[in-house]
Symmetry: C2
Subunit: 237 residues, 2 copies
């Protein structure tokens, strides 16, 4: 927790913040070993970053007096990430990784090789997803919550949502065996599509290329989704 | 398991291989759903890759008849990775990530912010480390086992081992706040040093820079070690 992320309900009159949830209280006590008078980094969800002084700490709450919260969060990546829904544990870690790297739009997509049971996982609950996003923001000192949407059908996604997404972005389909190596150091708005373990099936690849995506690869090595997605983002941006 | 990695003891007269360990037998049965006559990708540890036909499968062993095992493994990365010893679970995942990405030399280093207890973890046992390396190789269809060495003292490492390592490699110290952004797409032999959670202390940074390392950063975001190490490798090579 390199930043204490304050939700609107944590803040009173812009000068005082109270943190009451057990996870953060425990972290303050056990990891930060915080004591009264300590100055820590805080951020307002969707807003600025600054320092605050810990003025009270007990079993129920930690109270901070805030300085001007006027530093901007780190810049986001210009990417909308479309990720074939990974298995639940991999999803959790991937959400944390990509949030920490600065992804702000995430769509979780069904495809043939996504096991149907993954869509029933408790990890897809709104609060669970939010928990992982918050961990990613706290890690990277960011305040801007990513938006996560679910696309439970491959064909409706391709036919109804993809054209709109590609109107303002270049589309890159990361898939082993595609002709072009992953570009490096780009800054234009990009839609990055990453398949499931085992990859998209040929028909899905064809549909995505037909829709205007460019196929890219990371070399001959087959990577786990959570490794691949970090490697792609780090190489692209 | 995108490749079945054969240890020397798995192979008989270069034409037959037997896999006997429960993990791989289970994987063959439950994930590959392998049946007699299936042709799968196998690799000889430290050697070539080819296909083999499953000719027998029971509770005790899977027997393959091998084709010519004459395809080379994917190229390694020209990097020696020096990683401040992460906490055990992060170590396990980091070893798998970096092995899958093609790192062949790994040194786990002590530094001030590495908790001493981490050096007592069972995850540092030779067999445990090997297990994670094998998972990384199986994932990325590689056969060449990385070498892992332990440097239990920061100062002896810097004084006794680092000069030799830097004689043939450029040294890059990845640390937040360093002056240069991480280079992109290099191919020269590199020693990449990555600190612990919380970072190297200023004195350690100074020692590494004095030894000839160049300080690089990945931007304003603070990343977890396992995210940072994948991002660095993907951006560098």
């Amino acid at each position: 927790m390199n930043l204490i992320l304050l939700a609107p309900e944590d803040i009173e009159d812009r000068r005082q913040a109270r943190v009451r949830d057990p996870r953060r209280l425990r972290h303050l006590r056990e990891v930060h070993r915080a004591t009264i008078g300590d100055r820590l980094t805080l951020g307002i969800q969707g807003g600025g970053i600054g320092r605050g002084e810990l003025v009270a700490l007990d079993d129920e709450e930690a109270c901070f007096t805030l300085d001007a919260m006027d530093q901007p969060p780190p810049p986001p990546l210009p990417v909308h990430l479309v990720l074939a829904l990974p298995r639940p544990r991999m999803l959790a870690r991937s959400l944390e990784h990509v949030t920490a790297l600065g992804v702000k739009q995430i769509t979780l997509l069904h495809s043939r090789r996504v096991e149907k049971s993954y869509w029933q996982s408790p990890e897809l609950g709104e609060q669970k997803i939010r928990d992982h996003l918050v961990l990613g923001l706290e890690q990277s000192r960011d305040t801007v919550m990513p938006e996560v949407s679910l696309a439970r059908g491959f064909r409706p996604f391709v036919e109804e949502r993809l054209p709109g997404l590609l109107a303002e972005r270049q589309g890159l389909l990361a898939h082993p065996g595609m002709p072009s190596p992953c570009p490096r150091g780009i800054d234009r708005p990009t839609l990055l599509i990453v398949g499931p373990e085992g990859g998209f099936i040929p028909h899905e690849v064809e549909r995505l290329l037909d829709a205007g995506c460019q196929g890219i690869h990371l070399g001959p090595r087959i990577l786990r989704v959570e490794t691949a997605v970090v490697a792609l983002l780090a190489r692209l941006f």
